[in-house]
């Protein structure tokens, strides 16, 4: 059975004819945070505004894979959460296949799904149970998921005999495979991957990366990949962006990016662009990444 037979794919109308997959213009977000300097000084802590994203502008074309590199606190997760309709921006706009993420959240929600760094599940429930109820939220009936869940778990190489085990008994790598299965089960036309391989062992990481490649080749999904992993960005994405303290410094093919900064590697390019090594922790207190 084909994937598209299981659930109704988004209609042409819902994809906003001609519109880019993602269109972000002047997007800004700030968070209120307690001022640690007051605490250190023994004063009553005041709240101050910390920028998480500042005037971010970019497009992603349909079927394209774009990677965004950035340290912790650079604003990557804030960007993903804004596109996921989980945050309201302070300024600017974001459209997914022509739909405004603020004014038309339901239309956007039907088109997207997400894998984040934490494979979040009801831990006592099994992989099958977690996938089953989540699929219902996207309009998939029990008839749809009966065959589709085993098929997609097979596809991510999830062991058949562990499908009914509580998630808490599974390794982090196995949980992340279920997270990928959950995202793909709903046939998203835009897949938001927020550090999907962080914390995985090398083998699991390669398996997940292979699967992302396969999804790209077999389906017409657009992918926004936020990652710490420079090699992952280079091999998976057509264009690579650098997000630093909420500002998108650059977004272009990896080779152009290296040429722009006169760097031999992406890591060197990142260093030249931001003045920091990739391993340095972000100094921001946005707390969103």
């Amino acid at each position: 059975m084909s994937r598209t037979a299981a659930i109704t794919p988004p209609s042409a109308g819902s994809l906003g004819p001609g519109a880019p997959a993602v269109e972000v213009a002047g997007l800004s977000k700030q968070f209120l945070r307690r001022d640690k300097r007051d605490r250190r000084a023994g004063r009553r802590t005041r709240k101050r505004r910390v920028p998480a994203l500042t005037n971010v502008t970019f497009n992603i074309e349909r079927g394209e894979c774009v990677a965004i590199l950035g340290q912790n606190g650079s604003g990557k997760s804030t960007l993903v959460r804004l596109l996921s309709t989980l945050l309201l921006p302070d300024g600017g706009s974001a459209h997914v296949f022509g739909h405004d993420v603020i004014k038309e959240p339901r239309a956007v929600q039907r088109l997207i799904n997400r894998v984040s760094v934490e494979a979040s599940f009801f831990k006592k429930m099994s992989a099958t149970e977690n996938l089953s109820y989540a699929a219902r939220f996207y309009g998939m009936t029990a008839g749809d998921t009966r065959d589709e869940i085993p098929r997609i778990l097979n596809k991510v190489a999830f062991a058949t005999d562990r499908r009914t085990e509580p998630m808490e008994n599974l390794s982090r790598g196995m949980q992340q495979k279920v997270a990928l299965a959950r995202a793909l089960l709903t046939s998203p036309v835009l897949l938001l991957l927020d550090e999907p391989t962080t914390g995985l062992d090398p083998r699991s990481k390669l398996e997940v990366q292979d699967f992302i490649r396969e999804v790209r080749s077999s389906q017409d999904s657009t992918i926004l990949l936020c990652t710490h992993d420079l090699a992952e960005a280079e091999v998976l994405a057509e264009r690579v962006g650098i997000l630093d303290r909420g500002e998108l410094l650059v977004l272009e093919p990896a080779e152009d990016l290296k040429r722009r900064y006169g760097a031999a590697t992406l890591e060197d390019a990142f260093f030249v662009a931001t003045g920091k090594t990739f391993e340095q922790e972000g100094a921001e207190e946005g707390g969103e990444d």
Binding site: T78, T85, L87, L88, R114, S120, K124, Y133
Partner: protein, 278 residues
């Protein structure tokens, strides 16, 4: 256009089924805890219902059967309301703890259907638990309820549940606004609602300001209606004085609950609180 609306409604109903399905899985997976909590509820209820026996033992002159039943109904309604509020509050609190909150709130499921699904499950689960609790406690006291109209009592409870769900929707937003203390605030709301509603006593014994509040509490009418049905054998047709106010409060509380929750959700989205760690 019509086909689109039908498809959308179908998707929402499937989503509602998903909410019920998820909660059923959780009950199954936590089955032993369910038993443990039920035993705790039984013990808690017994401590209240034995008060009537205690009063008689201390020389008090009361209608023991009637007073025991009054206390039993109060304790069962307390437990039932506790379940409704707890399950609705878990709409946010449990999901935040498990980390699934972002996935649920980014799914294309309307908040009305989401909260209604939680409310319906709470009612189904609550009715089963409350029924079992009533039966177990009644067994301890050898109660004589020859005139009881349990169907009428169940209908009153069902109608009251609409209001309880509406108020529960309002309390469900509290963990969204305050991840640390929101759940506890829900319990406070439950206590405040019941203390003015004559949970173990007649509302006439309350100070006047509390009596005024009892007029707008759905629990007041639920308790009166259920006691009349069980103690006096009042048939459904004679309980309109309780059912009409419950319908009116329900008609107001559901839209109000949804509006409060939506407002809280917007606040959480603006301030970055709609996330796993709080």
């Amino acid at each position: 256009m019509m086909r689109g609306a039908t498809g959308s409604l179908r998707a929402e109903l499937i989503g509602l089924g998903g909410i019920m399905e998820r909660n059923a899985y959780l009950v199954k997976r936590y089955a032993l805890w369910e038993v443990a909590f039920f035993i705790w509820t039984v013990a808690n209820t017994l401590t209240i219902v034995f008060i009537a026996e205690g009063v008689v033992a201390a020389g008090g002159r009361i209608d023991l059967n009637r007073q025991t039943t009054v206390l039993l109904i109060g304790a069962v309604i307390w437990a039932y309301l506790g379940i409704i509020f707890e399950i609705l509050t878990e709409t946010v609190a449990w999901e935040r703890w498990e980390g699934t909150i972002e996935y649920t709130f980014m799914a294309p499921l309307s908040r009305t259907v989401h909260l209604t699904g939680m409310g319906l499950f709470a009612v189904l689960y609550g009715v089963v638990r409350a029924g079992l609790l009533f039966a177990v406690i009644a067994f301890f006291f050898d109660l004589a309820l020859p005139d009881a109209d349990f169907v009428a009592a169940l209908v009153v409870l069902g109608v009251a549940s609409v209001s309880f769900i509406g108020i529960g929707m309002m309390t469900a937003v509290l963990p969204l606004i305050s991840p640390e203390k929101g759940t506890q605030l829900g319990f406070i709301a439950q206590g405040m609602l019941l203390v003015v509603s004559g949970i173990y006593y007649s509302v006439e014994v309350l100070p006047q300001p509390m009596q005024w509040l009892s007029v707008i509490s759905p629990a007041t009418y639920a308790l009166e209606g259920i006691r009349d049905a069980i103690l006096e054998g009042a048939a459904l047709g004679t309980l309109w004085d309780e059912i009409v106010p419950l319908i009116i409060i329900g008609a107001v509380s559901i839209p109000a609950g949804l509006a409060v929750f939506r407002r809280g959700e917007q606040y959480a989205k603006k301030h970055g609180k709609l996330k796993r760690s709080g």
